[in-house]
Symmetry: D2
Subunit: 157 residues, 4 copies
């Protein structure tokens, strides 16, 4: 079953800074494999999260950063496109990319590649930054606006 990846999950302005990205490595664990000998489709949100948290920790918008700012950032939308399977003990990489967005919103896409470098899964998540009453913020919190400024100035790599 050959399939093409969706070209892009998010539209970005031509002048926007390039995405911030990270690649993490993992290996399929026994408990993640289903009776059909492939990773159960419901494990992939957890794979995406591994890369999302690593990306946040590298660039200063991690779980703890938002927690300290008292800004919950629940997942509002998740989409997963399964192109091929992963099997027990297979090594793979998960890439997460943060796409430029000035609103109180976190747009990430993901790409999982197997040992041969083949794209086996892609997907995206959308998170909203909320205030204490769980209303969407008008603007990102100060620490995130700093991050946006550095990003736009080309100071993040």
């Amino acid at each position: 079953m050959k399939r093409r990846m969706r070209k892009s999950y998010f539209k970005t302005d031509p002048g926007a800074p390039a995405p911030l990205s990270i690649i993490v490595e993992r290996q399929v664990r026994f408990e993640e494999v289903d009776p059909l000998q492939i990773v159960w489709h419901g494990r992939y949100p957890s794979y995406f999260e591994d890369a999302r948290l690593a990306l946040g920790n590298r660039y200063g918008f991690g779980y703890q950063d938002f927690y300290r700012a008292e800004v919950p950032t629940p997942i509002r939308q998740l989409q997963i496109d399964y192109l091929g399977p992963l099997r027990f003990e297979e090594r793979f990489t998960i890439e997460a990319r943060l796409h430029w967005c000035e609103a109180a919103r976190i747009n990430l896409d993901y790409r999982i590649r197997n040992q041969k470098g083949e794209l086996v899964t892609s997907g995206c998540s959308v998170q909203m930054m909320l205030d204490r009453d769980f209303e969407v913020l008008l603007n990102p919190p100060p620490f995130y606006q700093d991050l946006l400024r550095h990003w736009q100035a080309g100071e993040l790599s």
Copy 2:
């Protein structure tokens, strides 16, 4: 954070039979709740699966039916829209609906409602019916074509 549900995940012809549906009841388990005291977003594929399997078992296109026909039906696409949270020990319902499709493809959408009847999550999944070489079938297997005939004849309810 108020949000509207997507109107529909699948386009269907005006003359197509109405979806086959089921509603299952569940209660949030302790291990499904995350440090923010809400169900972790990655548990919802499992909730959808509960309703999907129940629907398949009711109408004869369950996991075992496809297994006997030697037709794998991997999930190819999954989409989840989170509208509101679920909390520990909260009771909720999951509705799964099979949408009419004559191709070797299973189009389902899902709606999770909390105890007040509020829609808290919606989503969809797309599965492909494959042959032994993991190529997409030209047509559904005989048992599924029978199901389609009965469905179209209005004999399923």
Copy 3:
């Protein structure tokens, strides 16, 4: 592989009230099954928890009761004896029994039976009742002492 169940996980005084017990019903879910087509051994703590929470809710020593009393009750010891497998979609029962103990300690044992009524798993858990500094309490909190009194008086069934 035939094996006998351990006779008992806890020693109790001859004059102690009989255990409080509950039986809950469940069905094996797809994601709980491993590549060997049996329930992965690591899912059983979750099965035990289902019965433990149901028992606590019935007799007034549930998660919320301890939470309101600000008494954490972490699991200190867990033991599981696997006597036979469970398979996909198999229905089974989980029995949890609270054994009499006047200390700040919760002693439970568990028995899982398959559809034929065969014992397939047994086990036990030990929880300690703690204060806010995470030291073991000298005595159970008042609400639990009430429960012990009613239990000893034969008023719980």
Copy 4:
């Protein structure tokens, strides 16, 4: 809540070779943490498994080795002693040790230490080596007997 570790889960003859061991490193993932902000007790079988599989792969008695020999090795007993908590993003180590045993039985114990090197969890598992009728083997399969010979000869380290 200070507690001592059990001195030992298995009795071994004085003349038996020293255990084979491995230490793997991990970090607590978000989905492993419960509403009380500590790792849910039911995740530890998965931590033990990480070290068990790594040990098996290093010394040639991994999942695939037994699979090729057509010898299922189900877990028959699991015991976990929780001495202290692990928290979100905490790094920790899991040590697995295989204890000498000439029967068709795999005796492992486990020790989890937090970043400070404190022992936070210990435990053990017992697996039986079975034939195709799921009866316990009289002796381990040839490849495992080779391993025992090399181990006893001091050729494994």
